[in-house]
């Protein structure tokens, strides 16, 4: 049997995958770890509460600005249907349908 060498590309790839998994896990659990060291104060709580929706705003606004018109229309359609109906699945399907139809027809 051949000894397993770290010089082998597949072994390197597996090391990279394990490293990526550990780095990602550190970010996912790290927030909980850090917060055990920090005392919860009203100011920190206000900060964390203000952050919640802000994260989602920060995810979609650049996507809307960098995207094309069908993508912007999709975001608008999802927002409007969600505000009107409070049905998440209907809102998502509306967004996807608007972008799909726009691209299919134009």
């Amino acid at each position: 049997m051949q000894p397993i060498s770290l010089a082998h590309p597949e072994a390197q790839a597996l090391v990279a995958v394990i490293g990526m998994a550990l780095a990602t896990y550190a970010t996912r659990a790290g927030g909980f770890w850090l917060m055990r060291l920090v005392p919860m104060t009203p100011v920190l709580e206000a900060f964390l509460r203000g952050m919640a929706g802000s994260v989602v705003v920060a995810i979609i606004v650049p996507q809307a600005l960098k995207g094309d018109w069908p993508a912007r229309a999709a975001i608008a359609a999802s927002l409007i249907v969600m505000i009107g109906s409070r049905q998440p699945v209907a809102a998502m399907i509306a967004g996807i349908a608007v972008a799909g139809l726009w691209r299919a027809l134009i």
Binding site: Q12, L48, M51, V55, L79
Partner: protein, 247 residues
């Protein structure tokens, strides 16, 4: 104001009344059911990462294992950009941490809620916490969800579709075609737009959200992948604190 450490098993916060937080299979099932339809809609992204992994020269084992143990689209695409022979392992791992650093804020935001379960239960819940699962959990929490099993169930639904999508994309490759043609590239923006409405608490959100939008747009062009989310979150949090201090 409650101190999570002192709260211990009760896990109650002054502004979040209700029964103590649980960590049960029932909660996991709720999370799975709530997320499943979204997870199905994310399949094109799994397909895309599978196609890109094959093109980057990964073996099927590495490509599928990567999706299974990392479960982070932006980080995986960033790593694929760096994938070469010889493999820059350290650069790939550091990039992964940087791209995923926004997750640190997700854990912080859920910490008070999750203070009532044991540290090991929290560590377990964290394993599958993606953008979508976090936003789903924040929405469920706002509606009174008191079971951290929700995070695991929600994460599992996305994990399943991510791994299946990666495998199918890897083997079918270019036969799939361009997902943009079917409007599928807007799945993620449409999903987050939908969730945003569930996180709206009132006119007090307008100022933090405007600050978040401005910071995210500025950071998008000037900071590494993923950091526009951190910039937006910090800006929104700071404005919320400023408003809180003025009251």
């Amino acid at each position: 104001m409650s101190n999570p450490a002192a709260d211990g098993a009760h896990g109650r916060s002054v502004d979040e009344p209700g029964p103590a937080l649980r960590f049960t299979l029932d909660g996991a099932l709720r999370g799975f059911r709530a997320t499943f339809i979204y997870a199905v809609l994310t399949l094109p992204f799994g397909l895309a990462v599978g196609v890109a992994s094959a093109q980057a020269g990964m073996s099927a084992l590495v490509a599928i294992l990567l999706s299974a143990v990392v479960l982070a689209g932006a980080a995986q695409f960033a790593a694929l950009d760096l994938w070469a022979n010889p493999l820059p392992v350290a650069a790939i791992v550091v990039t992964t941490f940087v791209v995923n650093a926004r997750h640190l804020l997700y854990g912080a935001a859920l910490h008070t809620w999750a203070a009532g379960i044991t540290p090991w239960q929290r560590n377990l819940a964290a394993t599958l916490m993606t953008d979508v699962t976090w936003a789903m959990t924040m929405t469920a929490k706002a509606k009174g969800e008191r079971d951290a099993g929700f995070v695991i169930g929600s994460g599992l639904a996305l994990w399943l579709m991510w791994v299946v999508g990666t495998a199918v994309g890897y083997y079918l490759g270019a036969a799939i075609g361009d997902p943009r043609r079917y409007g599928l590239d807007v799945v993620m923006p449409a999903m987050f737009a939908t969730m945003l409405i569930g996180l709206w608490r009132g006119p007090g959100d307008i100022a933090p959200w405007m600050a978040a939008a401005a910071a995210a747009v500025l950071a998008y062009d000037h900071l590494p992948t993923g950091w526009h989310v951190i910039a937006g979150a910090l800006a929104g949090g700071i404005v919320a604190v400023a408003r809180f201090a003025r009251r």
